[in-house]
């Protein structure tokens, strides 16, 4: 599977894709790249602000600004790590951590759709709209995590029976 197939497969054919990812086709760098792209695309205004701040206030202030911007993806990173730890606990597969990272992709897809919608409309989402987008993203990610758990366990089951 190629990069785009792995990303898209998690969204439209999750069972088959997670089965293949669990079988060894998962690439840890896939999600890492997506997190970086999401940070750059989603927080571009704040990065631009950091450049402006650097010109006026110096590198130290700009670094502080960049750190603040980077914290925007901290909940995503914590979520990915938590999904990995939980999958490792429940499935005990060698690559459970890598597979779990892909369960963040549905959350990213919902976030992207929301961000595009509100950017195109030219206004910031209301707290209620924001909560709906967050909730939908988390719900889809949790569903993906459950599918991943089932597929990873399925793959591990014959080996456990044999031993």
């Amino acid at each position: 599977m190629r990069f785009d197939e792995r990303i898209g497969g998690v969204l439209i054919t999750p069972r088959a894709t997670f089965a293949r990812l669990a079988a060894g086709e998962a690439r840890p760098s896939d999600v890492a790249w997506l997190v970086v792209l999401r940070l750059v695309a989603g927080e571009l205004d704040r990065f631009a602000r950091a450049i402006a701040v650097m010109r006026e206030f110096g590198v130290g202030a700009a670094a502080q600004e960049v750190l603040m911007v980077s914290s925007a993806v901290m909940p995503d990173v914590v979520g990915i790590l938590a999904a990995g730890v939980m999958l490792q606990l429940f499935a005990r597969a060698k690559n459970a951590f890598d597979v779990a990272a892909y369960t963040w992709i549905p959350y990213l897809a919902v976030q992207l759709a929301g961000a595009l919608y509100f950017s195109a409309r030219g206004y910031a989402p209301s707290p209620r709209a924001h909560a709906i987008v967050e909730g939908a993203g988390v719900a889809w990610a949790v569903a993906a995590w459950i599918v991943a758990l089932i597929e990873v366990r399925k793959l591990g089951a014959p080996t456990e029976t044999a031993t």
């Binding site: 990303i7 439209i12 999401r38 695309a41 571009l44 631009a48 450049i51 402006a52 006026e56 950017s119």
Partner: protein
Amino acid sequence: MSAKWVGRAILVALGVLFALRIVQLRGQGLLHVATPRGSLAPDVAGPLLVGDRFRLSDERGHPVVLVFWAPWCGPCRAELPGVERVSRTLAAAPHSARIIAVDTEGNRDTALEAQAKLGLTMPIVLDDGSAAAAYQVTMIPQTVIVDRTGRVASLIRGSASEDELMRAIERVEKP
């Protein structure tokens, strides 16, 4: 629809979001700091916590130090006692500068509580958000020193030590 195309759609969506942000950035003028050194300082006007009203444009002829803060901001509360000491030093000759604390929250009750707790005697202006917006205050504390001609002379992002603040003020006070 194949997985390949959905994956590509995600990447394209990221690219579109990137492009939309650039268009918005150009429209908002966020690619530069609104108040660079040497520029005319935007006016700050608002009710004082104690007293009548403050207007920066009425203060021409002597330097003014604007300290943007909020009662809920920990680093601000840590910085303000030092700023207060500098303010008291400035009250005596040969100094001419005046420190104004700009409360970005603009809530009289919380400002009064912080004033009492921190023992502040310097003037506190309650900002309705317009001053913070004009100076693009995205983090607090932030200090802007305006010279006697009403131009931005110095900017300090984050907490400033008493020495750092005093040195910056003395540079502006020199004729």
